[in-house]
């Protein structure tokens, strides 16, 4: 069939980052396209351009032969492009039918109230089509994740969607729910609806996709058709880039285990336990896909959330961490993933942020000495090469890299034993990235245990001394440096056993 939607030479540049370059993609009715790539390969940027949320820097979008430079959100909807998002966009406080027709509810002739009868009548046939067995007036709050996802698909169908873009639709579904979703994909396909299926679960992609498009570093690294779609080929296309050498070896071999987790469980994956040891003087990379439970692990270690079970041993002694201040007292510090929300007080000064966790050190009999505080902040600014007019600069006005250095400065003045970095260089320019890597190495060489959570393959392979790969709440495997390869990480991250670089195929 003829494609009705074509992307031609789409490029998108953000300040300092080329998110997409020269991406072309065509969609024909009734086909299922698997779109895969690592975290940050450019999938979500591409989808945002399709949905009209952002505008491409170059290239064209052709719909039914009509070419245009960019879409608005309404135009995308009118063209029949619909999304089923990873984070569901449903209103918990409304019922199913109301969610489907939100913003375009049928009205009664008088008073223009919502016409419930017509609303339910419009939704019911769509629900029947997908085999949903709950009533249209069921509250969304009562629905399971899988049911919500199907409801999103109904919403897409009610908009006469010609292409439904599913972003990680099965990430939180059980096996049987996944099967159900895949059969819905099949049903849509038979009715001539095209699907763009974005997933890290290569099994599912292999099962349902007619063809696969692989993105890497914002470019299309390959296309696979029908029988070409195999695990090996998909993984090879997803990685397989030259790694710049980031690695600086440690000054001394890693010492004894400083931090040991045994049977450690968090609320994200109550059934899975983590066993992990972090040694003195090493940088331990913690790789895995987004949602594998790494951030939850870090939060629990730092006392933000209570772990469900398991033990923490620090320096050979059992410890309990019930709150961040207990973690801090033990010398376990966290540089959180969301710098702006959790790491910093954006409308406060550099000084205030750096001394925030340690204010008592600058106080005598309860009164803070501003001079001491500023002296320390200035010292950290110099040591970390923070670019700012002065220590009383408001942190919110700094660049991402300098903001992250302020977060680091906060902990470095407090003699860390264990430092957990959660996505340490997200949204940070290359220059600052390298500085932060050098700082991490320096800390490790000074005997600090560094645990680095990273979704950036280049980073986690290039910086770590050892790597643990997480999959669905547990450690899928530990890799030593001689066995590092992106392929090995990917295999473990998508849930294949055996972290030695060999893998089994289904």
């Amino acid at each position: 069939m003829e494609p009705f939607l074509e992307l031609e030479g789409i490029s998108k540049a953000y300040p300092g980052v080329q998110a997409l370059s020269d991406v072309s993609l065509s969609v024909a009715p009734g086909e299922v396209i698997g779109l895969i790539g690592e975290n940050g390969a450019g999938k979500s940027t591409l989808m945002k351009i399709l949905g009209g949320v952002t505008e491409a820097s170059a290239g064209a979008i052709r719909i039914d032969g009509e070419s245009r430079k960019a879409l608005k959100v309404e135009e995308a909807t009118a063209a029949g492009i619909a999304f089923v998002h990873q984070e569901l966009n449903l209103f918990d406080n409304l019922d199913a039918a109301a969610n489907v027709f939100i913003g375009r509810e049928p009205r009664t002739p008088f008073l223009k109230l919502i016409d419930r009868k017509r609303l339910n009548a419009a939704v019911q046939p769509l629900m029947d089509r997908l085999g949903l067995d709950f009533a249209p007036d069921t509250s969304v709050a009562e629905l399971s994740i899988a049911q919500r996802q199907l409801l999103e698909i109904i919403k897409a169908l009610s908009l006469d969607a010609r292409v439904v873009i599913m972003d990680e639709p099965t990430s939180s579904l059980t096996m049987s729910e996944t099967r159900r979703l895949l059969s819905v994909v099949d049903e849509l396909k038979r009715n001539g609806v095209a699907i763009i299926f974005i997933s890290h679960r290569l099994n599912e992609v292999q099962e349902c996709a007619d063809r696969v498009v692989v993105l890497r570093d914002g470019r299309i690294s390959g296309r696979l058709d029908g029988g070409e779609i195999t695990h090996e080929r998909m993984i090879r296309l997803m990685i397989g880039r030259d790694l710049k050498s980031l690695y600086t070896p440690p000054a001394a071999p890693a010492g004894e285990a400083m931090l040991e987790l045994a049977g450690f469980r968090t609320a994200a994956f109550p059934e899975s336990a983590v066993d992990l040891a972090l040694r003195r003087g090493e940088i331990l990379g913690l790789a895995g896909l987004i949602g594998a439970g790494r951030t939850e692990l870090a939060r629990a270690l730092f006392g933000i959330d209570r772990p469900l079970g398991g033990t923490i041993r620090l320096g050979g002694r059992n410890v309990s961490v019930k709150s961040p201040d207990e973690a801090i007292a033990l010398g376990i510090y966290l540089i959180p993933e969301d710098r702006k929300q959790s790491g910093l007080i954006l409308d406060d000064t550099i000084t205030a942020n750096i001394s925030l966790a340690n204010i008592r050190a600058f106080a005598s009999s309860g009164l803070v000495s501003t001079a001491l505080e500023e002296k320390n902040a200035a010292a950290q600014c110099r040591a970390l090469r923070i670019k700012a007019p002065g220590v009383s600069t408001i942190v919110g006005s700094l660049s991402g890299g300098n903001q992250q250095k302020v977060v680091l400065g906060k902990w470095l003045s407090m003699k860390p034993r264990i430092l957990i970095f959660d996505e340490p260089t997200r949204g940070i320019d290359v220059g600052s990235k390298n500085e932060i890597y050098a700082l991490m190495r320096g800390l490790a060489d000074n005997g600090v245990g560094v645990l680095m959570i990273s979704s950036d393959m280049e980073e986690v392979v290039g910086v770590s001394d050892r790597m643990a790969v997480m999959h669905e709440g547990t450690i899928a495997g530990i890799l030593t440096r001689d066995r590092f390869s992106e392929e090995a990480v990917m295999q473990l991250a998508v849930g294949h056993s055996g972290g030695d670089g060999s893998h089994t195929t289904h």
Partner: protein, 334 residues
Amino acid sequence: MLKKDLGLLILLIVVAGIVAFLNPRFISPINLSNTANLVGLFGLISIGQGFVIITSGIDLSVGSMLALLGVIFIDLLTTYQMNWALAVIVIVLAGTGLGCIHGFLITKLKMQPFIVTLCGLLLYRGIARWYTDDATAGFAFGQSFPSLEWLTTGRVHGVPLTFVVFVLIAIVMGVVLHRSVFGRHLFAVGRNEEAARYSGIKSERVIAATYIILGALSGLSSIYFAMYTRSISPASHGTFYELYAIAAAVLGGCSLRGGEGSVFGIVLGTMLLQVLQNLVNLLGIPSSLNFAVMGAVILIGVLADQQLVKYRNQRAAARARGALATGDKAQAAE
């Protein structure tokens, strides 16, 4: 700190200047003394309210608390013949206790401050009226407590002791807010509770502490008010006073979003509000316009302050950009 309060100080001086020009008696010692006395009375609850507002909370129960604690205080002195010093301690502790309850409900049981203290507003007013059987609580004619009266309504060289006590407490609270570890934690929690928590600050304790401080100050203030009016009609005593306190704090630069405010600003805010009340009487403005004058000046004050901050931020941002640009150049040259 002073920079931010400068605008309010200017507004206060301008208003005072105009009033003094129109009626020179405004700056007569006796009038300044009377005004200072009321600044002392209202200032205590305003500072407490300011602390709560810095955590982005609010306490609506202050006025009712003044009525309840006030009638109990008078009852302790008259009916139970309690030693006045003991009664003062009991009342301040009772206020602290109520603050503890508010803090507990808000931080441990996660209730919204508005709701908790709105219920307090109704509850304490109701209990005060029930306790006195809706009668006015007051001292008998000629009943006298010389030491207590000296401490609460006495004046030394024309300076009311209430004002002296208020200034002392304001200095202490100013040091606590702007210089102490607790104050820094308070601002951190008000600006970004999550980041504060990620820095090991026990945000719940900090928030609860502000309600407890306000409770204690309300207890002290209830004694002052009781001794000022010397009789308390539980149905009307202190109504709206929580709003005066909120108004003073907001005028003084506290943002209801939290994380902003200074004790000096709150003191100035309280002074401005009392000068407004004073000028209505001194300039012979009809009493009915009292609230209108207050509303208009608060509106103008807060609006002007916001515009000033916006302007200052723009200039600071421009300066920061300039500094970074030259810094980059310098680095490029290396």
